[in-house]
Symmetry: C3
Subunit: 322 residues, 3 copies
C-alpha cells in the first residue's frame, strides 16, 4: 500500500514523495519499507535514528524526523497508528494458500481443522477439534491436543505439546484511546514463536505480538490457565505454574521458576534463574539473577517471610499497641 494511500485512509495530508509501505513496526525495528510512529517525546532518540520509510509524528516533533524518513504529520500519532494498523492486518484465513503439507509418520485427525498453508513436521499428532490457522508450522514430533487453537502464522517447534483448550496467537490486548474515552484496536500483526521441547497446559492464552513475535523459548514448561501477553519473551527451561499472568512485552531470562498465580506487569526484564514464590506480584525489572522473590509489592523472600511473621503476630495481639 502506497504511503499516499495510507495518508488518505487516515484522513491525513501527505505531499512528500511516495513509497510502497510493507507494514508497521517500532522506531527501533522498522526497516526502510515500514511505517512507524512516535507516541511520546521520550522516544526522540529512536526517532532520530529510525530507518523507517515514514513516521506518524506530531507537527512539533516533525523537524526531528531523519532525512531518509518521511514525516506523516497527525494530531495524535497513537490514534493514527491504531487506525493504520487495520490497513496492514492480514485476512483471517488465506484461502488461496496451498493445501497443508503433512510430514511422514504424522497422524492428523480428519476432524482437526487445518487451514491452507499449514506445514506439519514428521511424527506429529494433531487431534480432533484442534485448529491450525493459515501458515502455521508445527515441528517434528509435536502433539496438538483436542480443541487447542493456533492462530495464523504461528510457529510451533519440535517435540512440543499444546494441550486442549489452549489458544496460541490470539490478538494482544492493545488499544489507543480517543479523547472521548473510546478504545481503538491496534491490530496485532505479529505472531507467536514456540521453540522446541515446550509444553503448554490446558486453557492457556499466549497472545500474538503487535509487531514481530511473542516467544516461548526452548524447554519451557507452562501449566494450566496461564496468560502470556503480546511480545513477551519467556526464556529457556523456565517453569510457569498454573494461573500465572505475564503482561505484554515482559521478558524472563532462562530457568526462571514462577509459582502459581504470580503476575508480572508489562515491559519488565527479569534476570535468569529468578524464582518467584506463589502469588508474587512483580512490577519492576529484576537485574540480579538467582534470587528468590515473594509478595506484592515484591521483596526478597527472606524479607517477605519476616514481614509475614510480624504481621501474624500483629493479627494475634488482643490489644493494638498504637
Amino acid at each position: 500500500m502506497l504511503l499516499s494511500q495510507v495518508a488518505s485512509a487516515l484522513d491525513l495530508t501527505y505531499s512528500g514523495n511516495d513509497i510502497d509501505i510493507s507494514g508497521m513496526n517500532t522506531l527501533d525495528d522498522a526497516d526502510s519499507s515500514q511505517l512507524s510512529f512516535i507516541t511520546e517525546e521520550r522516544y526522540l532518540t529512536s526517532l532520530q535514528q529510525t530507518k523507517a520509510a515514514a513516521v506518524l509524528v506530531t507537527q512539533a516533533l516533525a523537524p526531528s524526523v531523519p532525512a531518509s524518513t518521511r514525516a506523516l504529520v497527525c494530531d495524535d500519532p497513537a490514534l493514527s497508528m491504531a487506525y493504520a494498523s487495520a490497513l496492514f492486518a492480514p485476512p483471517y484465513v488465506d484461502v488461496d494458500d496451498p493445501a497443508p503439507v503433512i510430514g511422514e509418520g504424522s497422524v492428523v485427525d480428519p476432524r482437526a481443522n487445518l487451514e491452507n498453508g499449514v506445514t506439519v513436521g514428521k511424527g506429529c499428532t494433531i487431534m480432533a477439534g484442534a485448529y491450525l490457522g493459515s501458515n502455521v508450522s508445527v515441528g517434528d514430533g509435536t502433539v496438538v491436543l483436542p480443541n487447542a487453537t493456533i492462530y495464523r502464522d504461528c510457529v510451533i517447534g519440535k517435540q512440543c505439546r499444546i494441550h486442549g483448550g489452549t489458544t496460541i496467537g490470539a490478538d494482544g490486548f492493545g488499544y489507543s484511546h480517543t479523547q472521548t474515552g473510546e478504545h481503538v484496536k491496534i491490530y496485532q500483526n505479529g505472531n507467536v514463536i514456540i521453540e522446541d521441547d515446550v509444553e503448554i497446559g490446558s486453557n492457556c492464552s499466549v497472545d500474538r505480538a503487535v509487531f514481530a513475535s511473542t516467544c516461548i523459548r526452548r524447554g519451557t514448561k507452562i501449566d494450566n490457565n496461564v496468560h502470556i501477553g503480546h511480545n513477551c519473551d519467556i526464556g529457556e527451561d523456565s517453569i510457569l505454574v498454573a494461573q500465572v499472568g505475564v503482561g505484554g512485552s515482559t521478558s524472563l531470562g532462562r530457568n526462571c521458576v514462577v509459582s502459581g498465580q504470580t503476575a508480572f506487569t508489562d515491559h519488565l526484564e527479569i534476570a535468569p534463574f529468578s524464582t518467584f514464590t506463589a502469588r508474587s506480584g512483580v512490577t519492576k525489572s529484576i537485574t540480579e539473577s538467582g534470587k528468590i522473590w515473594s509478595g506484592y509489592p515484591l521483596m526478597e523472600h527472606r524479607q517477605w517471610a519476616r514481614l509475614q511473621s510480624r504481621l501474624a503476630k500483629l493479627a494475634k495481639e488482643r490489644t493494638h499497641r498504637g
Copy 2:
C-alpha cells in the same frame, strides 16, 4: 405450564385458581405470567409490590402476598425455586428452528458448528470450530474466532471480536442448598447480551443470567482468562485486563479500568470512571466516580502505596519494635 402442574412437580399443595406460567423472575422484575419467590424476609417490600402471577413463599410470609398474586406455600422457597427453575429450562438445542440465516458478505466456515435459529449479520467471519447455539444472533462485522463457544439465546452486537477458547453464556454459578449440605442447581434461563464494538480475548467465561441478561456494554475490551459471573453489567468503554474476575450481579459503570487479577465479589455497584490497580480485591460498592483503588481489602491507591512503603520498612527492620 400451569401453576397447578408446577405445584405438583414440586410436591406442593396448591388449591387456588390456575394460571399458565411462562417462566420465572425476581419479585421486582416478574410480570403477571411469571413465577417468583421470596427467600429472605428483607425482600418483604418487593413481595408486597410484585406483579408476579405467583410466588413461592413460606406460610409465615404468605399473608403479605398481594391480592393479584397467588401464594404457592412451601417450607424452603430457595430450594423450591431451584427445583422449579428446572421446569422452565429450554432444551440444549432447538432442533426444529429454521436453518441459520447468514447475512451478505459473511464468511461462515463450513467447519463452524451453528445450530438452527442462528442469525449472522453482514460482513461477519465465523471460523472453524466456533459454536453458535440455538437462536444466537451475531451483528454485522463481528468475528468469532476458532473454538469460541456461544451458548443458545445469546446476542452479540456489531463489530465485536470473540477470541478462541472463550465461552459466552455458560450457566451462572447458582445453587440452593439442602439441609444435608447438597447443592441443587438453579437453572440459568437468561442469556448474555454483548453490545457493539466489544472485544473479548481468549479463554474468557461470560456466564448467562439466571433471569434476564448478563450485559457487556458497547466498546468494552476484555483481555484473556477473565471471568464474568451471571447477571453482571459491565459499562461502556471499560477495560478489563487479564485474569480479572467479576462476581455475579456486580455492575461496573462506564469507562472503568480494571487491571490484571483484580476481583469483585457479587452484587456490587461500581461508579463510572473507577480505576483499579493490579490484583485489587473489591468487596464493597463504590459510589464516588473517578478514583483510583488498590489492595485487598480495597483502599484508595495513595493510602495503599503509603501502607506498602511502611510494610516494606517493617520487613527490612532487623529487630521488631514491638
Copy 3:
C-alpha cells in the same frame, strides 16, 4: 514390557531375574507387576514395605530393597523414573477399540468428536465440538457442552454437566530435572474420575493423575476458570468458586467452600467443612474441620479481619509511628 527392556531403554545395567512390568506406581501403591522408584531417603520405610516388582534406586539405598522386589540401580531415580514413564504412556488414541456405545435416549451431536472405546450412558447430551477420548465413559443423564474436552480414560459420573471450553484429563504438571536445568516430562498415565452430580463451569482444567486418579467427588460444584492439579481429591458437595487453583495431590474433605481466586499449594490435606474466603492462600494442611480461613499466609478469618483493620489504620495515619 520386560524389566530388562526397561533397563536397556534407560541405559541401565540389570542382571537379576526378569519380569513383565505392567506399569509404574508409587512405592506404597505399586503391585507386584509394577515398577516403582525412590527419589528421597525419607521414603525409606515405604521402600522397605513396597510390593513393587522392581524399584529404581541409588546404589546407596539398594540394600534396603525388600527381597521380593528387584533393584534397578541408577544415579538419579527421579530422572530415570521420568524416562521410564514414557515407556508406559498409552497412545493418544486407541484406534482399534470398538465403536462408541451410546445409551438409550442419549443425543450425541454428529459434530461431537468421539473416539472409539467411548461409552455414553442413557439420557445424555453430548454437544457439537465436544471431545470424548478413547475409553471415556459418561454416566446417565450427563451433559457435555460444546467444545469441552475430555481426554482418554477419564470417567464422568451420572447427572454431571461439563461446560464449554473445559478440559478434563490433560497431563498433570510433572517433570524431573537434569543437572543442567532441563525438565524431563513425567508422563501422566493415570486418569480423572468425576463422580455423580458434579457441575464444572467453563474453561476449567482438571488434570489427570500421574498414577491412579484425580477425583472430584459426588455433588461438588466448580465455577469457571478453575485449575485442579493432578492427583487431587476434591471431597463431596464442595463448592469451588471462579479462578480457584488447587496444587497437585491436595485433597479437600467434603463440603468445603472455597471462594474465588483462592489457591492451595500441593500435597495438602484439608479438613471437611472448611471455608475459605476470597483469595485465600493455603500452604499448610488443615486438620480441624468447620473453620473459616482467610489471607495469605492463611489465618483464621477473625484474625485476618482484625489484622486488616489495623493495617487500614496504619495506611491512614499521616505520620508513621516508627
